[in-house]
């Protein structure tokens, strides 16, 4: 336990030092990694812990991103205030989606979430909503500057802001998942009927899981929009949802550190694939995916756990 805390502090120290050691461009990439980590933790709460598959989490990411963009662009809301707003909207949306989804299991739930993921870009492009969403042209967002004249540039400030939000979200998530709620979700995932018989209110927990999961991904979306400074409907297509799913599987299902590993994978491996082959970059990405799943079927987090366990037992 003590060693864990020491490791986490070490990681944190490294994370704080990084933006001063690498270029602005790398800091930007690391900010995106943190954003994806929050999104993947959200998806993991739903799919890994609660066992409800979602092929449409890109929709919540998009919803959060557009919340932030519209608030900043049309209402002049400061960037940090858009995060709670995006989170709240996505929580409600996720909860409302989770209610009817209670009746669906496995594949059928996958289809319903798939429908959500496919519908979102269409909704964002819908010409009656164009006044708010900017339609196909999207919305450009100004970059936040460091406040109070702190000696960091805009990229570094955004990184630290994102790091702070990531820490808060991860700590809250860890707290949630290791307590009653986490146990209830895992019980539902493993054997829903037994859980209900034991007094776990399935409907409430499952819908809340949807809501919380959407909240996390929505906050990530808002942060992502601020980092990239641009939102457009077709950036949030079904492939984004699929990439998120790949991320949590490669990172490790039902694991908080898995969200971070998964985020590193989906951010950096496509770049590596692009450098290996210009002719068929995604083929290389696909090969990486297969490789990771072969070598580590329980994800990187699972493999790390196995390694540590093996070292502990003589």
């Amino acid at each position: 336990m003590k060693r864990n805390i020491f490791l986490i502090f070490l990681l944190l120290a490294v994370a704080c030092a990084l933006p001063f050691l690498v270029s602005n461009y790398r800091t930007f990439q690391l900010t995106l990694v943190l954003v994806y980590a929050i999104a993947l933790l959200g998806l993991n709460i739903l799919t890994g812990y609660s066992g409800q598959i979602s092929l449409g989490h890109g929709a919540f990411y998009a919803l959060g991103a557009y919340c932030a963009a519209i608030l900043m662009d049309k209402a002049g809301v400061p960037y940090w205030a858009t995060l709670p707003a995006a989170g709240a909207v996505c929580f409600v949306a996720g909860f409302l989606f989770g209610l009817p989804a209670l009746r669906l299991e496995g594949l059928y739930l996958a289809l319903a979430t798939f429908a959500l993921g496919v519908a979102m870009p269409q909704l964002l492009k819908y010409h009656h909503l164009e006044k708010w969403t900017g339609g196909v042209q999207g919305i450009v967002i100004p970059k936040p500057e460091a406040p109070l004249g702190l000696p960091v540039n805009a990229d570094q400030w955004l990184y630290f802001f994102t790091l702070f939000v990531t820490l808060v979200m991860f700590v809250l998530g860890w707290n949630l998942l290791r307590g009653r709620v986490g146990r209830a979700l895992t019980a539902i995932r493993d054997h829903a009927i037994a859980a209900e018989a034991m007094g776990v209110h399935n409907a409430l927990y499952k819908s809340t899981a949807f809501g919380v999961s959407a909240l996390y991904t929505g906050v990530a979306g808002a942060l992502g929009a601020i980092a990239v400074q641009f939102v457009a409907p077709d950036s949030f297509n079904i492939f984004l949802s699929i990439v998120f799913l790949v991320g949590i599987v490669v990172g490790g299902l039902a694991s908080i550190s898995g969200a971070l590993y998964g985020a590193l994978f989906i951010q950096f491996v496509p770049n590596i694939a692009d450098e290996i082959s210009k002719a068929a970059p995604w083929a290389v990405f696909g090969i990486f995916m297969i490789g990771f799943v072969y070598l580590m079927p329980t994800g990187v987090a699972g493999a790390v756990r196995l390694l540590l366990a093996r070292r502990r037992t003589p």
Partner: protein
């Protein structure tokens, strides 16, 4: 009224496309209890192989049969080499492998054949007396129904079909009765790939051959298979026609083309809420 009829018939034509791929999806599900997201790309790749054969001078029907054969072998190979090693992994890990396959096949097809549009010939006569549907579209629906009938007979009345269904439903008991479960899975993949190849060769003359040909179709085929019942081939075909007509009618008369896909999917999800196993799917009763 004429416009409505026209849209319905056009919907049946595109529905036929969805139905043919939905059949392949159901096939693989019946054999393995998994939904293979790479089915569309496998079908697309098989169609490109057919195109290469035709380009090399092989006449249509021999090329057709040869492609089905190659696809069958290819499906078995994929099962042995790619899917077998991850068999015992969590379901989502297998899903990721399928997604990887999808991405690899799409990318490699684009690399080998480029993204320029290619036309694919149709074995049916070109000129139509019936102006609402082309002879090919009618012919493609016909072929889909023939494949459906063949599948039905295979699963219902042949020992091999029974063995495959047993292997998928309860591998341990099946092994105990002497069924070689491993080979049943491989056979399932081979058959699904072959059906996919037929689907691809019927679809390509309508939508034109390019690496992204099956992307949109897979979406609809998935919805169709589920709304008809994922373990019912007949349901999948019916689901395909339903989705095709629904989409066309919604787009032309109800909601406009911008939202027709979303609304169609929402309606399908609505159906699933009322009948969670689809129209003809088997309702699974689990013992607690």
């Amino acid at each position: 009224m004429d416009a409505f009829l026209h849209q319905v018939l056009a919907g049946l034509a595109t529905g036929g496309i969805y139905a043919s791929l939905a059949l392949a999806l159901v096939m693989i599900y019946q054999a393995t209890h998994l939904v293979n997201f790479a089915q569309g790309e496998m079908a697309m790749f098989a169609t490109y192989l057919a195109w290469s054969l035709l380009n090399a001078g092989v006449p249509y029907w021999p090329a057709f049969l040869l492609t089905i054969g190659i696809a069958f072998v290819g499906g078995i190979l994929i099962e042995r080499v790619v899917v077998r090693p991850v068999e015992s992994s969590p379901v989502l890990a297998i899903v990721v492998v399928f997604i990887a396959l999808l991405v690899i096949l799409n990318s490699v097809a684009g690399w080998i054949y480029t993204y320029t549009l290619k036309s694919f010939p149709s074995p049916f006569p070109q000129q139509a007396a019936f102006k609402y549907m082309s002879p090919h579209e009618i012919g493609a629906i016909g072929i889909t129904l023939v494949v459906l009938a063949a599948l039905y007979v295979f699963f219902r009345f042949t020992p091999l079909g029974l063995a495959m269904r047993a292997a998928a439903q309860n591998p341990e008991s099946a092994r105990l009765v002497g069924i070689r479960v491993g080979w049943m899975l491989a056979l399932g993949w081979g058959l699904a790939a072959a059906i996919g190849a037929v689907a691809g060769m019927m679809v390509a003359p309508i939508v034109y051959l390019d690496p992204n040909m099956m992307g949109g179709v897979l979406l609809y085929a998935f919805a169709a298979a589920l709304v008809g019942g994922i373990d019912s081939p007949g349901g999948a075909v019916l689901g395909g026609f339903l989705v095709g007509v629904l989409e066309n009618v919604l787009g032309a008369f109800v909601i406009g083309n911008e939202l027709k896909l979303s609304v169609a999917l929402v309606l399908i999800v609505g159906v699933l809420l009322v009948r969670p196993s689809g129209f003809f799917g088997r309702v699974h009763v689990t013992r607690v």
